[in-house]
């Protein structure tokens, strides 16, 4: 750091280095057309190429991350040199470690990774990743992520947010990124509290919660994040927890493979302001009875396979698989492409009679916003040719003055 005062304004014109700006090339179109979910009334007409995931333009390094083209990348390649400043014991550490471990497995060069966050303890995350990143402003990460992904669809964009960041101040943006289906991953750290501002209740805090701003208990009805994003037409919604890195990694990996907005809610323990909030689901003593890890195409079982969930009308109910009354065939087989099942499953939320679900609730393949925007531009260029400034300036009625 220099303590020198900046110089007084100069009056001479500065010379700039010769122009190096190269025209960006648009990503090449992919041949595959997206398939629309069955039952959609009218198929929107899509510009050709919409729905594809673009690849890096020619000239981009194809080697493994790290850019040196030789060594196999490791977790260390994705760790920045900045000291991590979360409270000791915070669940954020486990999420960071899991993401850093996952990165080398994705086969995406480090320089193509971009992490965009809002504001909150969780949103400090990008500083700790040795990738491109922006720690932006409270609640607005979805907008910045949309801007970068739409204008640079070949980049691999991740968005980091908290329960306050995404559901309170950023509530408007989160619903719109969902309906647009921008091709990126969202990791939402849900600790059911405002961490960074030192412990006020958040939009996911339970009714009755006593915090600094609610000494007599919160009276706000909480959001159910998975139900909320499904209501906003999320195309991929999953839930996982900080204390199960293996499951978390699996969810993040699936969100990454998914083309569209991959929303992953992570239950994260804030040991300072909301300790043990999810311990029922995350700790050994109660986890198997209180949490169910469900998978697409598999029957819903938990408690070490001794219990299952069956559909009774539109309601889920627990069945005992050991007393001979019920068998595995009675359990509901999960279908992650069913909006109806996703809705029923998402509404299993802090229920005493049912385990809290963890897994991929819903997946719908539909073209992403970024690919459609770029495909539309491409199709206009194909139809009209690359625009000429000269022609544009001279269009319409003109006349000569001599």
């Amino acid at each position: 750091m220099s303590e020198k005062d900046p110089k007084k304004p100069g009056t001479k014109k500065p010379t700039l280095p010769p122009g190096m700006g190269k025209k960006p090339t648009l990503p090449p179109g992919a041949a595959k057309k997206p398939t629309l979910p069955p039952g959609m009334g009218k198929k929107p007409t899509l510009p050709p190429g919409a729905g594809k995931r673009p690849t890096m333009p020619p000239g981009a390094p194809a080697g493994p991350p790290g850019g040196d083209g030789a060594s196999v990348p490791t977790r260390a390649d994705f760790s920045s040199d900045q000291d991590v400043r979360w409270c000791p014991g915070c669940g954020d550490y486990a999420i960071l470690a899991t993401v850093q471990r996952l990165m080398p497995e994705l086969g995406v060069p480090r320089e193509n990774m971009v992490f965009i966050s809002g504001i909150g303890c969780s949103s400090r995350f990008p500083y700790y990743m040795n990738t491109y990143g922006m720690h932006s402003i409270h609640g607005r990460a979805p907008t910045i992520a949309t801007g970068i992904k739409t204008s640079r669809p070949e980049l691999d964009v991740w968005m980091i947010t908290g329960d306050g960041d995404s559901l309170s101040i950023g509530g408007n943006h989160i619903i719109h990124i969902m309906r647009r289906n921008v091709d990126l991953q969202i990791i939402m750290f849900n600790n059911q509290i405002y961490g960074l501002t030192k412990g006020q209740y958040s939009p996911t805090s339970e009714v009755g919660k006593v915090t600094k701003s609610t000494p007599f208990g919160s009276i706000d009805h909480p959001f159910n994040p998975i139900a909320l994003v499904l209501g906003a037409d999320a195309s991929f919604a999953a839930r996982t927890m900080d204390r199960d890195p293996k499951h978390m990694k699996d969810m993040l990996k699936q969100a990454h493979e998914f083309r569209g907005t991959g929303f992953v809610e992570v239950y994260q323990n804030c040991n300072i302001f909301n300790d043990e909030a999810f311990f029922d689901f995350t700790e050994k003593a109660t986890k198997s009875e209180r949490a169910i890890f469900f998978e697409n195409g598999k029957p819903l079982t938990y408690a070490g396979g001794t219990k299952g969930l069956r559909l009774n009308g539109f309601r889920l109910e627990t069945i005992n698989l050991e007393n001979g009354n019920w068998g595995i065939d009675d359990c509901l087989v999960y279908d992650e492409t069913s909006r109806e099942l996703a809705t029923i499953m998402a509404r299993v939320y802090w229920r005493e009679d049912l385990p809290q679900p963890f897994g991929v609730f819903f997946r719908e393949n539909r073209p992403s916003y970024d690919s459609q925007v770029n495909a539309q531009i491409q199709s206009v260029i194909e139809r009209r040719g690359k625009g000429s400034l000269e022609d544009l300036l001279n269009e319409g009625d003109t006349w000569e003055v001599s």
Binding site: P9, E111, G147, L392
Partner: protein, 617 residues
Amino acid sequence: MGTKTVETLPEATVLFAGDSGDGMQLTGTQFTLATAYAMNDLATLPDFPAEIRAPVGTTYGVSGFQLHFGSVDIRTPGDEVDLLVAMNPAALKVNVERVRAGGTILVNSNAFERKDLNLANLDTNPLEDGSLDKYRVIQVELTKLTRETLKDSSLNQKEIDRSKNMFALGLALWLYSRPVEPARKWISSKFGKKPVIRDANLELLKKGYHFGETTEQFVTRYEVTPATLPPGRYRAIQGVQAMAMGLVAAANKSGLLLTYGSYPITPASDILHSLSKYKNHGIMTVQAEDEIAAIGIAIGASFGGSLGITGTSGPGIALKGEAMGLAHITELPLVIINVQRGGPSTGLPTKTEQSDLMQAMYGRNGDAPLPIIAASTPGDCFEVAYEACRIAVKYMTPVMLLSDGYLANGSEPWLIPDADSLNDFDVTFATGTNAEEDGKAVFHPYVRNEKTLARPWAKPGTAGLEHRIGGLEKQDGTGNVSYDSRNHEHMTWIRAEKVERIQQEIPPLDIFGDPDADLIIVGWGSTRGAIEAGVTRALNDGHKAAAVHLRFVNPLPADLGEVLSQYSKYLVPEMNNGQMVRILRDRFLLPFEAMNKIQGRPFGPSEIQRKIAEMVG
């Protein structure tokens, strides 16, 4: 057919006024086109209500289109109106005060029934009560003549009545000896697929024109000879169009993708409308969920190496404040367009004002100065849009670009610029490391260019330049988060200094008028035409005055202090309650006098002329 005398005029101001549904904007636009073909210089001022379809016949539903044209240099849409075409009593009532004494008022006399007068809240009929005695009133039975003309048409009564503006247009074209051909051509192509409507409109246009020739009501017909404009190819241009094309030019010359994020708002929406048509010109548009999202999208795009632009009006700027601060501290290029309208709050959405200057200067938390550039004429919007983009990239800074409702909707003949004559627009992306750390070559995002203090622009996707930026204070050089108090002070200075250095881009000021005067008028934005026309008139009156116009509002031009020191009286006309005047007083400690107009319409030259007379007469 009576014999008509032809009187040659140096200039004239015509105002078409009627109900929102009377097609006055269209009539005005077509009259403008004919005037452009007649090679006059011109300026227009459309004036429409905030309601889309206000109740028929009411004063608040009146829509107007004013046009000032001449063989002389035309700088404003005109002060006093020479011809008012009023389609109903409400239009007459709202606009009569703007007609000069002795001016002509042409009314549709069929629209002055008792019920029409009631709708306009008029107790007596102005055509009979003597209130129009100081004007020359020409009563034309527009409704009846239109119905007679189209009696054999298959159009229904409503459609026929709606077409009477074409009769009025034909008549006005005749009165000022304008060519009919451009309007004929326009009708033919617009209604090519609806021959019944096309033929009805063509017939009315012709009948209106002939009516002028045959009626005894007109003894004089006017002529305005061609203006001496600089040679070249011209088109009529509106400020919004020019602004959009300036952005396209920036995309074209820089080779950058331009990403425009916007949320609809009057009068800025037309920029979004125009740009969304230019997808094959290196422009991407995103209609965002709100103004905050719109600027966020633009910032994200800029971080990705394309140029983010966001456009709105005052209320939208209020929402963008925090994100502008983010762009300022992350030192990313960004252009924020404010097409100003009457405020505060929702204010006067369709009227013009310059009241967001303080908001542009100071409307962010923290010390967060932005360069501010203001357009002065509809055509100038092209140049300032281009300049704003160029400076944003060269200095890695958000730039605030100010226009207003009058500039956006007003039009003028525009000498089509030669794309090659624009300032060079070089873009340099960082390609390699620029610092050393522990003997290792590394990339530091806040190492600065010595001349501009700009930091390097490193595009994601470039190996080895991975870095993080954000809203927390940065250590100069490394760009790491820093809470160090000395560093914060230094960074605040350096960000301000970077904005100040943009003075390097500002050409020396031009003094308009008499440089030896005691009085200098300092203007900014769209008041330029009125100020300079007012000074010209004052000089003709023998009153000495000079004027200087500021395109750069922040930083102020380096030579402004020196220029001001040569005068002893200072006047600052603004369409607000005194904003620039405060900035100037603050900077120069000179006795600047404020001249304010906050009526939702631009200054006229005569107002400036009178004020000069008052100050130096």
